[in-house]
Symmetry: C2
Subunit: 84 residues, 2 copies
């Protein structure tokens, strides 16, 4: 794996892991009034398309990163609907 | 441009555009208590790495998408610091 590929993987890890503290914060405060439902809905559709793209170009990092991000976004959407 | 490339571009547009409604919502409610500073900080670092990655692999879509996302994330960080 060359250095550029490693850089891309680190970037993917960060933009995926970033959602963990937001999921934790929302779960902790049990409120999601300030969270945009539109943002997470559009982001979710985008992530699903990234996932299909990753499968089509046979890119495990793209599939993995977006698979995990997708699950975190689903948690945010569920909490947004539950906590309002 | 083949269909797979178009799919990737649509995915990039969606995951970038997704932040617009969150920026708008936070600006409108003038409160960011429920917004995770850690999420946006980690996401920002990830986006900067994606930008460098895009420059290194000469990918205009990656550079453009992450350049615009980076600016939207900066707006979120500024509002998070201002509105608390």
């Amino acid at each position: 794996m060359d250095k550029i590929e490693v850089l891309g993987l680190v970037a993917a890890c960060l933009t995926t892991a970033a959602f963990v503290p937001q999921v934790y914060k929302t779960w902790k405060v049990k409120s999601a009034k300030e969270i945009s439902l539109t943002m997470y809905t559009v982001f979710f559709i985008g992530v699903i398309l990234w996932l299909v793209y990753g499968l089509l170009i046979d890119s495990l990092p793209v599939v993995l990163a977006n698979g995990i991000t997708g699950m975190l976004i689903v948690l945010m959407l569920l909490m947004k609907m539950r906590y309002k």
